[in-house]
């Protein structure tokens, strides 16, 4: 049994790989932007104890963090239509990513907000900033900056997790891999290459997000 590797067989489907990569990235980007925004809202509700939203977010966070993404995806895609909420595979995938990342971001950002030194808030108050201005200009930016590495990690985890969206036929990178190996019968080579692409995406996304954090939040050169 001498197996001859045939990696070029994978690259005959470069267009499928590129399309899948693009969709995985788009799914991650949309999910990250809206998910983190949702996380900020959730974190504020939790940190400020805004009833009843603080309780709702607490339940939401626990439900999401204690169930697998795949099950959340199946529940949204297969389960919700049964009670009349119809959506296509992309809508379901995007919704699942947002809901999943939103829960993790809520917890991560809340920790950042609650770690704000009391003196920072007092300084803002003494400058006559109101509560919202204090939050927007004094509390949130350093809190986000502090937890940004954790948020980056979470976005990478979510990006890698979108791999299972292939199971509802969302044509992202893993779906492309499944398609390619069904054509070239080179499963190992195909999954190997696609795994390498995911690895590069993970590195790239982390780098990009760290840059964004530095530029947008810290406004440092």
């Amino acid at each position: 049994m001498s197996y001859v590797f045939d990696f070029p067989a994978v690259f005959e489907h470069t267009d499928a790989l590129l399309a899948g990569t693009g969709r995985t990235l788009a799914l991650t980007a949309i999910g990250a932007v809206i998910g983190i925004a949702l996380g900020i809202v959730g974190a504020v509700c939790r940190a400020w104890r805004l009833a009843p939203f603080d309780r709702l977010f607490a339940v939401y966070v626990e439900l999401i963090r204690n169930t697998p993404f795949l099950v959340q995806l199946f529940f949204i895609f297969f389960g919700l239509p049964a009670i009349g909420v119809q959506m296509n595979e992309w809508q379901a995938a995007i919704l699942a990513v947002i809901i999943n990342l939103g829960a993790y971001s809520t917890e991560i950002i809340r920790a950042g907000i609650e770690a704000t030194p009391k003196g920072q808030i007092e300084a803002a108050q003494s400058l006559a900033l109101n509560r919202l201005q204090t939050f927007r200009h004094v509390v949130l930016p350093p809190a986000l900056l502090k937890v940004w590495p954790a948020l980056c990690s979470q976005v990478v985890i979510v990006m890698l997790g979108t791999s299972v969206c292939s199971q509802i036929a969302a044509e992202e990178l893993t779906f492309a891999a499944n398609f390619i190996q069904s054509r070239n019968f080179r499963a190992f080579e195909t999954y190997f290459i696609v795994t390498a692409i995911y690895f590069l995406l993970a590195i790239g996304i982390r780098q990009l997000m760290m840059q964004i954090g530095r530029r947008l939040i810290a406004r440092r050169p």
């Binding site: 993404f69 199971q167 995911y198 993970a202």
Partner: protein, 218 residues
């Protein structure tokens, strides 16, 4: 199809959950042992084992678990091994778990003040003795909470094994949803099943963490 009662659904899901639990425990135990070995490599004196361990960790943390399972599954058949979904899932999740635990534990070891290394070195302890008698006992204390916390990720990770055909809770759920045409109910129960497995672990990890921080601040 209507002859499958809600009770049948729950009973079947329970059987699936047993396999989820079995896979989780297997991955956690073997992943923990492998993780310990990788931890030692990761904090070794020599650069080579450190780099190798770092590479291992980065690869497993930087690629999808699903891809890891596919590669093990299809890679096995390349070298002539017929790997069952159970074996592939167990190997995949063990490797995945070992990488994360090694990294979590490294953080705990590095949280031990440098003075502890210096003090124990000044008492002429070897590096292994330093680890064994001074560093690890202290690191262990702070490692328990994040380790329990990570066990939740392992349980959730086992769901991905359903995709390579391992019949656990999620796979059982998919089959039942197809058979009953009641996906809302079935996946609701599946989610509840995972929640029942994971929430106690999450809550326990949180309690441990709180106790540790409470103990530290006094």
């Amino acid at each position: 199809m209507n002859d499958i009662s809600t009770w049948d659904i729950v009973r079947n899901l329970f059987d699936g959950a047993v396999w989820t639990l079995a896979l989780s425990l297997t991955a956690f135990v073997f992943g923990g042992l492998a993780g310990l070995a990788i931890l030692f490599a990761r904090i070794a004196k020599h650069a080579l084992p450190r780099r190798l361990a770092l590479g291992y960790i980065e690869i497993f943390q930087g690629t999808p678990l699903l891809m890891q399972l596919f590669i093990i599954f299809f890679g096995g058949s390349l070298i002539g091994l017929e790997i069952s979904p159970w074996i592939a899932a167990a190997i995949g999740l063990t490797l995945f778990t070992s990488a994360y635990l090694a990294e979590i534990w490294r953080g705990c070891v590095e949280a031990i003040p440098k003075g502890q290394w210096e003090a124990s070195a000044s008492l002429a302890l070897s590096r292994f003795e330093q680890m064994r008698h001074v560093i690890l006992p202290q690191a262990l204390r702070i490692a328990i909470a994040p380790t329990v916390g990570f066990s939740v990720q392992v349980v959730k990770g086992t769901a991905v094994a359903s995709i390579i055909g391992f019949v656990e809770l999620t796979k059982t759920g998919s089959m039942l949803a197809n058979a009953t045409y009641q996906p809302f109910l079935v996946f609701g129960f599946v989610a509840l099943g995972y929640f029942a497995l994971c929430y106690p672990l999450s809550a326990y990890a949180r309690t441990l963490e709180r106790n540790l921080h409470g103990a530290r601040s006094h």
